[in-house]
Amino acid sequence: MAGDVETRGCVSGIRVAESRISRLEMLQRPLVVTAQVDLVLVLVSVLALWTRLSHLSYPNAVVFDEVYYGQFVSLYMKRVFFIDDSGPPLGHMILALGAYLGGFDGNFVWNRIGAEYPSSVSVWSLRLLPALCGALCVPLVYLLTLELRFSHLSALGAALLLLLENSLIVQSRFMLLESVLIFFVLLAFFSYLRFHNTPDSSWFRYSWLLLCGASCAAAVGVKYMGVFSYLLLLGVASLHTWNLIGDQTVSVCVQCVCRFVCLLVVPVLLYVFWFYIHLSLLNRSGPHDQLMSSAFQASLQGGLSRITQGQPLEVAYGSQVTLRSSASQPIPCWLHSHKANYPIRYENGRGSSHQQQVTCYPFKDVNNWWIVKDPGSQELVVGSPPRPVRHGDVIQLVHGMTSRFLNSHDVAAPMSPHAQEVSGYINFNVSMAAQNLWRVDISNREAESEVWKTILSEVRLVHVNTSAVLKLSGVSLPDWGFRQLEVVAEKLFKGHSSSLGWTVEEHRYGISQEQKEREAELHSPTHIDVDRKISFWAKFLELQWKMLTVKQEDSEHKYSSSPLEWITMETNIAYWLHSSTNAQIHLIGNPVSWGVANLSLLAYQLLAAVYLLRRRRGFKDLPDGVWCQFVRLGCVCVGGWVVNFVPFLLMEKTLFLYHYLPALCYLYLLSPALLEHAHTHLLSNVTHRRALCVCVAAMLSSVFLSYRTFCPLTYGSPELSANQLQGLRWRDTWDILYRRR
């Protein structure tokens, strides 16, 4: 035991002691290098590396969420743009870095859990970085306990609990992000406390603060969940700063500014920086393009920019355009019409105008083309010079293939009866005059007489007769409408909604008056380079906003669970099952450790309540220093558990057991520290202390035993028989798989 190492210098760092007396003397004396190495720290680190890194490439198959993260790694390798609403990009980039170092070329289809990796994929390198992060958590916990001013024995205890936690091992050994998140969170707390504990005089301590800010940014960048810990850390830091302000002996201005910069400005900048890397890496168009605005798409290589390159910028009378709805819900689509009419009567008996259907169609199609026409002239071609359409101009829209005018009237729309029907006008001679004038309303204009621009302008088409606005209602039409999306005109007095906006995506100046020739591809001389038109900030904001608002279909997963089940570990997740044998990997925690963690949580709260009440009545059980230590322990550990657990109770997303792991780590920090507190301050009797020591020893050995017991489910080997598996099913609610032979 390295108990004799001095309290502050407990790092495994190396100190160089130099004598600086005189040059002569220096020559006379030997050059001395003194190194202090905390052997315990080294030992737990080695053990952690061993438990996390051994046989890393087994199983050589896709395990659980690797199937999800893997596809993004592949897209990074191919530099194809994607959007993932589950978290910011840093986590994905770290995984991709591992893949890049291992020479992965992105050519692997991540389609199902359990699929074998081909020999060309270096599984080891894919999994290396998360495993390393997971392993480094163990020494970090050791150091963090020391920074909380507890002894080496407590630190060792915390490290052992973390070391022997089966669920953390499982979560670290695969291409998953939780271990990375936990690593950064612990690093942030460690570096902050190190900063706080270093005496004021040294400026070197601000590098710890900077490291803290950076790791906060990294934690938030890996998963949004990191925000919870970041906020807690900010809370602790602001409390310390507040006390600092109260200390009238020191000047605080510079210190406050330093803290502000390191803990707020730096993390925000770094967070944006992750996106900067993300966007600079991914510069090719891909499957998720369509969720983004046209301007964003045009900035990606391939995809839209290939189509839009060289097309004229300003929409003029006679332009042939496709109009894309700005709403990406339910799917991106273009204003469309086709040679089919609304049914005379709908299923529910309501009547329609029986005019030509106008819909929104999610695929590129020749029927998406519309011609912008001046109501005052019959020309369908662009004059020379082209006459651009400006904000507030009244236009008609002619469907390119059928030559019907876009029309709306006071007839209830098919699926949304509160809104007006939109149709391609057919004159049935039933005294229903054409109402086909639309006013162009550019909602993102900078000047009042702004020209309608391709891709950049978002326009609202306001029906002149009724002042209703052309709108994508988002409802699918029934079979008669070929399940395309309904387009309506709705009277709106209020606000902004993306379903009202339309953007010209493809655009050319029409020059042929004849219907037959109109589909000819024509390009005009005005070229624009759309790529330069969108800045990084615009891209960042759009991407971040889309990531926060894109909703995935909320589907219940077989292994999803509710937060209250996590505390008692009522649930598990099967990660992998061997294709022919009973070898399998489960996310199951170490039941003994979980029990210890829960007990210590309860004990802390009880103890804190008693102390608080008694202090309020004037009984000081603890000296002030010890009380401070006790409070700090609670703020960091119990606070950490609370902020990482309670928010999940309010969430409505699909949750899994692994969401609990960060909160669990805080409890593992708490348990040994609390035991030490009990040992030094609660038990005065020697016998009691001895009894406590025996209990702790027994507890640690049972932790180890249960770790051993669940090892086969953690590492996936050795294979167990059905009976042995049955024996491991300690809870009825665990779902362990048996293969029938």
């Binding site: 109260g246 809104a419 988002g474 007095f493 219940e556 077989k558 309020r616 009545r617």
Partner: protein, 747 residues
């Protein structure tokens, strides 16, 4: 932190307010504090505002007189006159044009209808607790409304019906809001100016007027909230004289008002939290007072438990008891409740039910799930959409009574004996359930269920009763043995699927739009006996069996109470925003982004639009920001040990303590809406707005000169509340021409 600091300063300046006031007296002889300074000469920190309110107490008689004299000398109207002014203005603005418009406005269609239900004693279901509607019904009853108006939809003319009583009642309660605000601010700040500013802000707020003038729950709710806060503030003031009569009075009043607030809407929970936090803080303070013995503290604690927990709980439960006793006739809310509950209601088919006693083949039945708020087994012509299991007919659980809930009981082999008495169904029999309307069989198979992925999908399958072997279900009476008969209403029955061995189950999850937001029905492979997998036979129609009068076990009162709460909570969270409905977001509210149309759309109609007085609301928001900045600056200064001077110190204390309380109230009544999934409306902000306005009042006295803008503004915007006809605002010639300051306003 700030608070503690403030208190230490408070204590430094003097333990009681007398000392403090004496100290400031020479400084402020010509300021507004004069009356209160003069009054509070005894050691109990009673104040001028309070004594003027209840000056019946003899001990204060002389001081009250003194206050009048003193204030005459300083050109300040006496506090009683001010109060009368507030009362007069408040009532006159609220009661003005109370009968206009003479048709149903907005949610009157719900709450007026529910008031009528009480008068008619018809059972209904609503997501809010019953007190508000009971009071509306009572007001209507007293003023001669007979409960016959149907309140079908907004815009219906009242004609000869006596609706003014119900509106007047709400308006009277609404009129108390400025008065309460006046008293609260007076108590917190000891300043008549601040109190008067607050009251005038509320009196001339168009939004507060509109929301008070109609048959709505909000004026009642806000009345109780404000009354609770007022009693709390008064109670805090009594802290130096514990266990005296006024102390007890205010404590009990807090309890009564809390129960009232919670009894009107669950939003009342927020004010309970506010009072709770205040009480905890108070107890913590007492605990730190080492001059009190533990016994004293225990007394304090118990007094609060009785006054703030037991008493409100008792009143709240009593309200429900009255609710259940009054509403004893069957009505539109029956289907939400269990069979046992329904048997209490006169006119329900289960009340003194008479039907064949044992389930028989050939019967038409409805099957109700046994979990609380479980629905009837239901099916309809619609299919499961693509991608959700097999594309067969949907089977759901539905809370309303409907002909689509009817099922026919058949034998496994389709040959029903046509003659004689039909055979009875026994435990262990294998049956087929045919949906009466669509003639499809209840069917299950190995596809995953739409929401609960671990379960199997249940569908309607086959035509005219011909299906396949997946349509067979085994009847199992819980706790029964082979051969036992199935008792209608009383037996708990489970339906086990023959082919897969799973059990018919209602998960309680609401299906998305394609399933009409009805409740999912699945077939669960886990055979544990839970209420979700147990069903009872509710209606049982078989013409060939004799009807026997059945007595259903009457449920216990606490069971009813629990059941109705669970149903209310389910109903509340089930209020999801509809697609084409405008959806108000919490951030819209403080900036007055968008109002609510109470009545009238077109030019010819009488239009009322709920919108706060924009000047007041924006001022509130600005003050809130300013307040935060000031408190931050002041607390940093205190923490840093700068001396502020006694007068500033006192201001800072009032701002931090009084303002802090109000800020907490605002936060508690506003922030939780961000986490709510249910549909939200603009009027949800009004309780928070009251707190914000009081904060403005307190603050404006110390910081801002008072702007009379809101009076002008009130004149400009008053047509919104009192109604207008004629052209819409964006056209010239309207009463509101040029006042459409934000595009989102829709008048």
């Amino acid at each position: 932190m700030a608070k503690e600091e403030c208190i230490t300063q408070w204590n430094k300046t003097g333990d009681t307010s007398t000392l403090r006031n004496r100290k400031t007296f020479p400084l402020s002889e010509k300021t507004f504090q004069t009356p209160s300074t003069a009054v509070s000469k005894d050691k109990n920190s009673r104040t001028g505002g309070q004594s003027s309110e209840d000056d019946t107490q003899s001990s204060n008689g002389t001081s009250a007189q003194f206050s009048v004299r003193g204030s005459l000398g300083t050109n300040e109207p006496p506090s009683r006159v001010l109060l009368m002014l507030v009362v007069g203005l408040s009532f006159s603005t609220r009661l003005y044009k109370i009968t206009e418009p003479p048709h149903v406005c907005w949610d009157e269609t719900h709450f007026g209808k529910m008031g009528s239900y009480y008068i008619n004693r018809t059972f209904f279901f609503d997501v809010h607790p019953p007190l508000g509607k009971m009071l509306i019904g009572l007001a209507g009853y007293i003023t001669g409304y007979d409960g016959t108006f149907p309140f079908i939809k907004p815009g219906d003319k009242y004609e000869h019906h006596n609706y003014w009583g119900m509106r007047g009642f709400c308006a009277v309660l609404g009129s108390f809001l400025p008065i309460f605000a006046y008293l609260i601010v007076l108590e917190l700040s000891q300043s008549h100016t601040a109190a008067l500013i607050t009251a005038s802000l509320l009196i001339f707020d168009t939004g507060c007027i509109s929301i008070s003038q109609y048959i709505l729950l909000d004026p009642i709710l806000m009345f109780f909230i404000m009354a609770a806060v007022l009693s709390m503030v008064k109670f805090n003031q009594q802290r130096h004289r514990p266990f005296t009569a006024p102390w007890w009075l205010w404590l009990v009043l807090i309890g009564v008002n809390l129960a009232g607030a919670l009894g009107v809407k669950f939003v009342g929970l927020f004010v309970i939290v506010l009072v709770g936090l205040n009480t905890v803080w108070d107890l913590w303070r007492l605990l730190g007072d080492l001059s009190l013995s533990l016994v004293d503290i225990a007394k304090h604690f118990l007094a609060r438990v009785v006054g703030l927990i037991l008493l409100p709980l008792f009143i709240y439960v009593t309200i429900f008891a009255i609710h259940f006793v009054v509403l004893n006739k069957s009505g539109p809310g029956d289907g939400f409740f269990s069979s046992a509950f329904q048997s209490r209601l006169i006119g329900n088919n289960l009340h003194n039910a008479s039907m064949p006693e044992y389930l028989a083949y050939g019967s038409t039945i409805t099957v109700k799930n046994l979990r609380i708020a479980g629905g009837y087994l239901h099916s309809h012509w619609h299919l499961y959409p693509e991608g959700v299991g097999a594309r067969q007919q949907q089977v759901t659980a539905y809370l309303h009574k409907d002909y689509n809930n009817l099922w026919l009981v058949h034998r496994q082999d389709n040959n029903t004996s046509q003659s004689g008495t039909p055979d009875l169904v026994r435990h262990g029999d294998i049956i087929r359930l045919e949906h009466k309307e669509t003639t499809r069989n209840l069917h299950s198979h190995l596809h995953e269920a739409p929401l609960t992925k671990k379960h199997f999908q249940v569908t309607g399958y086959g035509t005219n009763g011909t299906g396949d072997t997946n349509d067979l279900w085994q009847v199992e009476v819980c706790g029964g043995r082979k051969g036992d008969l199935v008792k209608v209403l009383r037996s708990k029955v489970r339906f086990l699927h023959r082919a897969t061995g799973c059990v018919l189950y209602s998960s309680g999850k609401t299906l998305p739009k394609w399933g009409w937001e009805q409740v999912e029905v699945t077939c669960s492979p886990y055979l544990k006996e839970t209420p979700s997998s147990q069903w009872n036979i509710e209606d049982h129609i078989n013409p060939r069996l004799p009807n026997i009068s059945l007595s259903v076990l009457k449920p216990h009162f606490l069971e009813i109470l629990l059941e109705s709460h669970i149903i209310m909570i389910r109903g509340n969270s089930g209020l999801k925003p509809k697609d084409n409905e405008m959806n108000s977001k919490p951030w819209h509210w403080p900036i007055n982004y968008q109002g609510l149309r109470f009545s009238g759309v077109n030019e010819t109609e009488y239009r009322v639009y709920l919108l706060g007085n924009p000047v007041i609301w924006w001022m509130n928001l600005a003050t809130l920001g300013l307040y935060l900045i000031m408190v931050a600056v002041a607390s940093v200064a205190l923490q840093r040990g700068f001396s502020l001077g006694p007068k500033r110190m006192e201001h800072a204390c009032v701002l931090m303590r009084g303002g802090g309380l109000l800020l907490l109230g605002w936060l508690l009544h506003y922030v939780p809406f961000y986490t709510m999934g249910r549909v939200l409306y603009y009027h949800h902000y009004f309780p928070a707005m009251l707190f914000n306005t009081m904060l403005t009042g307190i603050k404006s006295h110390y910081i801002l000169p008072t702007f009379p803008f809101h009076y002008i503004d009130f004149y400009l915007f008053h047509p919104l509340s009192y109604g207008m006809t004629g052209p819409l605002a964006h056209e010239p010639g309207s009463a509101m021409a040029g006042l459409k300051w934000m595009d989102s306003w829709e008048f």
